[in-house]
């Protein structure tokens, strides 16, 4: 009976649950799903991590390549984050070029990496003016059950922590790049964490006097019917470095 209700009137179904203070999967409104993170699983990648948050599963792989730094920033390397939503993660995801959601998420990842200062781009440039690292960070979503932002950030940071880069030297006379066999870890300055919430506008709310109700760590079904979404990225000392809000009503 409840499954039919959820299929026909998903918004009503969820609102009825919220009014009692619990969600369809039994969590309280502020409870997050259990998270498990495992790093360094993919040997073909220079750094990797897999994150499972409830049913949402994402895997992040980092491949490092060498390139010439730009003339404007001769002592900085490059970071290219990208998120890929595969058709296997959800029946609604279609095959094809990255959708608007995927592109927006990729931009979000780039913003977080730069704003949080988790790594120093000068660390990625072993020989200024000549040789710099390009880190291609690819986050592949394998199973989409809501809240990709949190999972993607967690996977990205875990993969960066597992990244190992070799030493690079440049011989000026011979104009040759030589890469050492031994690898060392990259220095990560901080570990940002993302917390996302779905916002519901309830007309008559019995449990709270405010207009907006926040649901922590939403599932796919909750995200679909939510009015807005808000995310905060915080650093270890409690500083907020990125906030992100989408939706149809101002909060």
């Amino acid at each position: 009976m409840s499954l039919e209700f959820q299929a026909l009137l998903p918004e009503e179904y969820l609102i009825k649950h919220i009014e009692t203070g619990t969600r369809p999967d039994g969590r309280k409104l502020t409870d997050r799903r259990p998270v498990s993170i495992a790093g360094d699983n993919i040997k073909s990648a220079d750094g990797s991590a897999i994150v499972k948050q409830g049913n949402t599963t994402v895997i992040c792989g980092i491949k490092a390549e060498l390139a010439k730094p730009t003339t404007e920033q001769p002592d900085q390397g490059f970071i290219v984050p990208n998120i890929i939503l595969t058709p296997m993660c959800h029946p609604n995801i279609k095959l094809g070029p990255p959708s608007a959601t995927a592109q927006e998420l990729s931009t979000f990842l780039k913003d977080v990496v730069h704003a949080s200062g988790c790594l120093n781009l000068t660390d990625l440039c072993p020989v200024p003016n000549r040789v710099a690292w390009v880190l291609y960070i690819d986050v592949v979503c394998l199973d989409h059950d809501g809240n990709l932002r949190d999972a993607a950030i967690a996977a990205l940071i875990a993969a960066l922590n597992s990244l190992r880069l070799p030493q690079v030297t440049f011989d000026e006379e011979l104009e040759q790049i030589s890469v050492s066999k031994s690898k060392s870890k990259l220095k990560i300055l901080c570990n940002p964490v993302c917390c996302s919430y779905s916002v519901f506008h309830l007309e008559s709310s019995e449990i709270t006097s405010e207009e907006n109700t926040l649901l922590a760590d939403p599932t796919y079904a909750e995200e679909e019917v939510a009015n807005s979404e808000i995310s905060f990225v915080i650093l270890e000392k409690g500083e907020i470095c990125v906030t992100h809000q989408t939706g149809d009503r101002p909060i």
């Binding site: 993919i42 040997k43 990648a45 409830g54 792989g61 296997m88 095959l95 199973d143 796919y220």
Partner: protein, 251 residues
Amino acid sequence: VLRMAGYELLSDQGLRLDGRKPDELRQIKTRLGVFGQADGSAYIEQGNTKVLAAVYGPHDMRESRLRPNAEKVVVNCQYSMAVFSTGERKRRPRGDKKSLEMSQHLKQTFEATIKTELYPRSQIDIFVEVLQADGGNYCACVNAATLALVDAGIPLKDYVTACTASLMLGTPLVDISNLEATTGGPELTLAAHPRSGQIVLMEMSHRFHIDHLPEVLDVALEGCKNIYTILDKAVRRHVSNRGASIGWDKE
């Protein structure tokens, strides 16, 4: 002993580069039911090759480019390699010729295996994602997809397992890794129904004399049968675990 670029593909003691005997398969690890959203899913590791498979279906036709068939179900396969799966970062994970060819081969393999007449005017989607590629990619995909189909409860005529074989100085080798494939000789890929011994797909690269074909074929078929034994055990273990958690044996 065959020496190529300093490697010994078959040593004096008859051992291969990774210490295996010529007729020994790589270590196989499997896991069924790994995703929440997909109807059926599986993960397989064959040596260093890691593949994920997800199955959606049977469901009504959603993609307009595939026309519904009144007699049989339409099998839609998509093969994709993660960008970090190979030594060099892949620029085009799907849509390139190799991926399309693999997708077609998988489609042919599963059209011959699934009982297609049971679901007319419907569609079954099979998605495979290669996380780490170390030789035998097609084989690992077929094996993972078989497990995912079993997990989804789709009726099959028989298991379909796949295995590669090669010939090195008169000795047939089974289940070749990437290194053996690129530096060694011919590679025969075989997909078969293990119980009946019927061949579903056979493909070969390079060349060797036709007199050698029966022994290489036998070795590959033997490999398929051994893989079947391993997969069957995994399925039975998975089903009994699931059954035990809901109390099947307590009736």
